[in-house]
Point group: C2
Amino acid sequence: MKGFRRQKEQGAPQHAESHKEQADLEKKDAQPADGELSGKSTTVSRRELLKLAGVGGLGLLLGGGVGAVLSAGQRLESMVTEADTQDVVPFYGKHQAGIVTPAQDFICFAAFDLTTSDKEQVRSLFKAWTEASAAMTSGTLIGTDNENLNLPPSDTGEAAGLSPSRTTITFGVGPSFFDGRYGLAGFKPAGFRELPRFQGDALEEQWCGGDIGVQVCANDLQVAFHALRNLARIARGTAVLRWTQEGFQRTAQADPAGSTPRNLLGFKDGTGNPDTSKADEMKRLVWTQSSDGPAWMGNGSYMAVRRVRMRIEVWDRSTLGDQEDTFGRHRSSGAPLGKAKEFDKLDLTATSPEGKPLTPPTSHVALAHGDGSINILRRSYSYSSGLDKQTGQLDAGLLFISYQRDLFKQFVHIQEKLARNDKLNEYIVHKGSAVFACFPGVSQGGYIGDTLL
Amino acid sequence: MKGFRRQKEQGAPQHAESHKEQADLEKKDAQPADGELSGKSTTVSRRELLKLAGVGGLGLLLGGGVGAVLSAGQRLESMVTEADTQDVVPFYGKHQAGIVTPAQDFICFAAFDLTTSDKEQVRSLFKAWTEASAAMTSGTLIGTDNENLNLPPSDTGEAAGLSPSRTTITFGVGPSFFDGRYGLAGFKPAGFRELPRFQGDALEEQWCGGDIGVQVCANDLQVAFHALRNLARIARGTAVLRWTQEGFQRTAQADPAGSTPRNLLGFKDGTGNPDTSKADEMKRLVWTQSSDGPAWMGNGSYMAVRRVRMRIEVWDRSTLGDQEDTFGRHRSSGAPLGKAKEFDKLDLTATSPEGKPLTPPTSHVALAHGDGSINILRRSYSYSSGLDKQTGQLDAGLLFISYQRDLFKQFVHIQEKLARNDKLNEYIVHKGSAVFACFPGVSQGGYIGDTLL
C-alpha cells in the first residue's frame, strides 16, 4: 500500500509508481499544502477519508463477515489510494506546511541552540534537515544506509511501516540567530526580538528561547517523535536541543466529526480562529509579505510559543458559573454566553434584563476578541508532563502556538490586554516563551532557509 | 451516535436506548472484556471496525463527491452502530480490563500514596473510583452535577463529546499498602515485596513504588489524561499522586494492520508475547488462582512496572549489525536472526556454517526466551518526556509493564538473567520500579478491592 513507510527506492520517485502518478499526486496536494484552499470543510472531509483509508487492510474485513458492505470494492480500492495520498502533506511549496495546515493530533516541539560559529555548517545542517524532512513527511526512511550491517542506520527505524500521518515539519529562527555569529545581523527583521515581559509571567529559562524552533506535527505521536529525534540526531556537532515539549489534541478516532478540541480546563479552544480556507484572510493575518520586509521573510510567518501551565487543581474547585464567566463561553456547547450554538456570533454589547453585560468584560473571550480587528492563527496543543516535583501536582497545560504576519501588532497587542485583566489568569501561569521567524516554503532543489543563507 | 460522551441520563441505562440493547451490548462485549477470547485476529478486526466507525459522520462524506462508494448506506449504518459498541471495553467482569485486553494506543500510568490512616476512607475512595471508572470507560460524564452553575462540575469536561476510546482502568496495591496502617498486614500475599535490586539498576525514588497503582489505557491520549486527572481529583484528601508517566504506541490510523509496535530503538517489541486468546495459557501465566493464595487475589494478577530510560544517542551511533546482535532479531522484519519472517520460530541452537550461534547467547531475545518455559505478558509503552536537564539528551525510553501470576517465579527470574548479561544493558538504564497486586474484576454493585477490604 502506498504511503506506508519503507525504504526509498533508488532512483524511483518517492511514493509513486510513475512520473505520471507523481505529477497527479503533486497536483492533488498542491493546493492544500499551500493551505489557502484547505478550509474547515476540507479538513473534515479529510478526516473522514483517513478513516476510509483504514479500510486498506481489506482482506481482513472481507474475511470478517462484513464483506457485503464493501460490494463497491473496486471503487473503494481506488478511493483508498486517493485517501492514502491524503495522508501526506507535501513538504515543498510556496509556504511551509504546518502553519495553515489543519492541526494534526500531536506535536513534538523543539528549540535548538547552534554550537557552531561557522555559517557554512549552519547551511549544511539546513540542507541535511531538508532532505530528511522531505523523506519523513512523505513516509520513506531517511537515507539509504538502512540495510548495511556495518554502518549505523541512516534512519532510526521506529516509524518503519507507519503511515506518513500527515507529518509537517516547520522551521524558524529566533532573535539570537542574528546575534552576529553568522554575519546576519543586518538581515534581522526590524523589531524582531524576544517577547516583552508580560504582567504575571513566571518564565523559566529551561522553557524559553532558542536559535532555531522546529514544530513537528503528525496524527501519530510515534511518527512525530521519530521525526524530531532524527532531526536532533542529524544536528549533532552543529546544534543541541535547548528544550522540547510534546503535546496532543483529541484524535480523529475519538472525534470523527473533527469538532473544536477542548483544552484541559474542559472548554473548546479555537472557535474564533480565522478561516484558513480564505486566502485573503491568511495573507492579511498570517503570511509576511515581501513589502513588510525583509525580503527573505516574504511568504514566511512569525511564530509565538508560550508554555502555559494550568492550575487545574484550583480550577477543579471553581463553580461552573465561575468557569463560564472566566472563558465567556458555555462549557458544554462552546457557545458565547447567552447563545445556544458554538459558532453563534459573539455580541459583547448584549446585556441581561438587569442591564449587566452577558459576557464579562474581563472574560478571556471578551479581551482576546476586543473589537475583532486584530486576530492571530492559533495552533495550540495540550500538554501533560508528569508531576511537578515541588508541588506534587500535575504539570499540565497548554503549549500555546500562534502564527501571525506581525508579532507585535498582533500577538503582543492581544497578550498585553490578557496579561493585565484576563479572569483566566487566576488559573494559568506562563512558564515558557519563544518567538521564531519562520521561513517561506522550500522549492524542490532548495533548502530550508535558503532565502536567508 | 452511541458511544460518544455525554451526560448520563437519569435513570436510563448507560449507552443503550433500552434494556434489550444493553443486554446485547454486554453479551457482545463480555468475552473480549474477560479477555480470554480476544486474541490477535479479533484485535485486528476491531481496529478495522473502528476505522469504519469513523464513517459515522456520514453526511459530510455523502456530500463530498464520494457518495457512490457508500451505496450500501443502510447496512453501513448498522455496522457503524456495532463498531461503536466495540469502542467500549466493559469495566465490570471476572477479571479487570486492561490486562489481557489488546493494548490500546496510549497509557497514563500513576502511582498514588494514601494520606489517610482510616480504612473506611480507603474503602470510600475505591467506591468513588469504581463509580467514576464505570462512567469514564463507558463514555459518560462523571456524576450529575455538570450543568449546575453553582457547583464545581463533577466531571472536568475535557473528554466531553469524545468516544470512550476503549478506555481501561486497572487498579492494584503495592507492598506498602499492607504495612499495618489499615490492619491488613495479614492479607499480604506471601513474598509480595518491592523488587530486588538488579545489577545495573539506577533507580530514582521519584519513579518508584506507591501504595496504589493505576494503569489507564485508551486509544486517545486526551481521553486517558481525563481519566487519570479525574481519579486524582476524586482522591484529594485521601491520596496524592506519587509519580505518573504517559506513554504511547503507534496509532491504528498509522498502522491499520495492527503490526507489532516498534520501540524507540526501532525494533519490534512484543513478538514473543503469549497469545491472550488462549484461556488456559492466561490461566497458567497471568491470572492468580485462588489456590495460589491469598483468596482475595483469585482472578487477579501481579503487575511489574519499570521505567527504562534508553540511551538513544549511543544506540544511534552503533551499527545495524551490533543492533541486530543486541536484540537477536532483524530490525526490518522482526524475524529471528537468520530467519525471514517475524513469527518464524526462534531456534537458539541454530549455527552459522562456521559453527557460531546465529543468535548471540547474550542477545536480549536469547536471555528473555531462555528454554521457553517461563513467560510473562508484556504490555509496555514508549515514553518521551522532554529533555534530561543534566545531559541535554532526550529523556525517552520504555515504560515496561508486565503481568504475571507470580512475580518472582516469572518476572524476577527473567529480569535477573537480563540484568546480568543482556547486551542491551549498554543502551538502557532502569530508572523506576514498582509492583502492584491487581485485584480481580469488579461485579456490578461491587467496588474495586472489595475482595480485600
